[in-house]
Amino acid sequence: MQKLGDFKVPHFFNYPPYYTLQPVKETREKQVQLWKELILDYCRNQKIFVIGLEEDYPLFSNPVIERSLSHEARKVFLNALVAEGHAEWMDKSHKKCLILWLRIQDWAAYILNFVKENGFEDSVMTVEDIRSGIETRGTELAGIDRGVLMRALRLLEQKGKAAIFKGTSADDEGVKFSA
């Protein structure tokens, strides 16, 4: 089984035609579906939050079968992710794409659940704690993109589930969660 680092790839990754955009509608739909899932799984596994179209990722080419996805193909798949809320273009020229294997609202729910399960209601955590502290090690939150985290926290703040406040230094923001 082909592996990308320690990530196990699905069978279609080793089948050459999947690297060419298919003209027939049903076949194309299947192809897009498979690549969408793979991109999300891979990014989640490798904690990749941003994909740059001009960069190379092991995900988009397979040296064993000597095939790689064209720019156009990558755009098609990323656009499909954008359409269903699992990605966002970060720039007008669509060169950088933010990958949201969990959408912002899903991240917010995840954080809330994490807080409840670990009894962190009414306690204060710094944003950095959440991103790289001991408590979040082994969870999806470890290594989360700062921008994504802040957006999720702000969503919780809007719902009255959290309060963000500035700490002693510029990058020492804290969060207090309420049950």
């Binding site: 089984m1 082909q2 592996k3 069978h11 279609f12 080793n14 089948y15 050459p16 035609p17 999947y18 690297y19 060419t20 298919q22 003209p23 027939v24 049903e26 076949t27 739909e29 299947k30 064993v64 079968i65 000597e66 095939r67 790689s68």
Partner: protein, 255 residues
């Protein structure tokens, strides 16, 4: 019998013919009776055998095939009726019904990948993977039997032979001779090029493309423009199971 001249001779001949005919009919009757008796004995012995070896028949695909062949020889079809003696004794009516349902499910699940045409070998292996928890192994022969039962129900399933392989078709797509030939060529490497088809078949230009385009439209083929030689390849998922797409290179580099 010596022929005697004259009318009485003719009468004797007629009487003799009648006699022979009666004897002949008798013999035929005796033979039939004998055969019926032998058949009845054989049938009851077969039933006894089935009772005794019920578990083996259930568990062992090779044994099961041989059992079916024995049954066929005496004109017994254990699958003919789900309510019949055989079905109740062996419960194998249910076994094939269950297989049939699973086969339909697998064909539906893989249809978007292979267009409704799947290699019998691949189908069988997917079926086995699916039934890992069941204690009964499944052979290609079992698959074919289950599919033939499906056909009787008018479900549109068909087994076609292309070259050396058997493919199971679960969509009404009719394949003509040109399509079949292309599939056969594809069996070698899993794909074909227009050039290759035109060369090996001396077809006028356009004929290969037409056939390939139809196969593409039906979802039976996928295009591949990524090879460095720049030639378009048409891949056929139904002749090369996706897990075999790696070929020799895969074996070398898989870790």
């Amino acid at each position: 019998m010596r022929r005697r001249p004259g009318i009485s001779g003719l009468q004797s001949a007629a009487a003799a013919r009648d006699q022979y005919r009666l004897v002949g009919e008798n013999v035929a009757k005796i033979r039939t009776d004998l055969m019926k008796e032998q058949l009845a004995t054989f049938r009851s012995q077969l039933e006894e055998f089935a009772r005794k070896h019920k578990n083996d028949i259930r568990k062992n695909p090779t044994f099961r095939t041989q059992f079916h062949e024995m049954c066929a020889k005496v004109g017994v079809d254990p699958l003919a009726s789900n309510k019949g003696f055989w079905a109740e004794l062996l419960g194998i009516g249910d076994f094939y019904y269950e297989l049939g349902v699973q086969i339909v499910e697998i064909c539906l699940a893989t249809r978007s990948h292979n267009g409704g045409l799947i290699n019998l070998q691949e189908l069988c292996s997917l079926l086995c993977q699916r039934r890992k928890t069941a204690r009964e192994a499944v052979s290609e022969d079992d698959c074919l039997r289950a599919i033939s039962k499906l056909k009787v129900l008018g479900s549109g399933f068909e087994v076609i032979t292309v070259g050396k392989k058997k493919l199971v078709r679960s969509v009404p797509t009719e394949l003509n001779k040109d399509h079949n030939e292309i599939l056969e060529v594809a069996q070698a490497q899993g794909y074909v090029t227009v050039e290759e088809i035109e060369k090996t078949h001396s077809w006028p230009s356009g004929r290969a493309i037409d056939a390939l385009e139809t196969l593409l439209e039906e979802g039976l083929a996928m295009i591949d423009d990524g090879h460095r030689d720049g030639k378009r390849r048409y891949w056929f998922p139904c002749v090369a199971p996706i897990s075999a797409a790696l070929g020799a290179e895969g074996l070398r580099s898989s870790s």
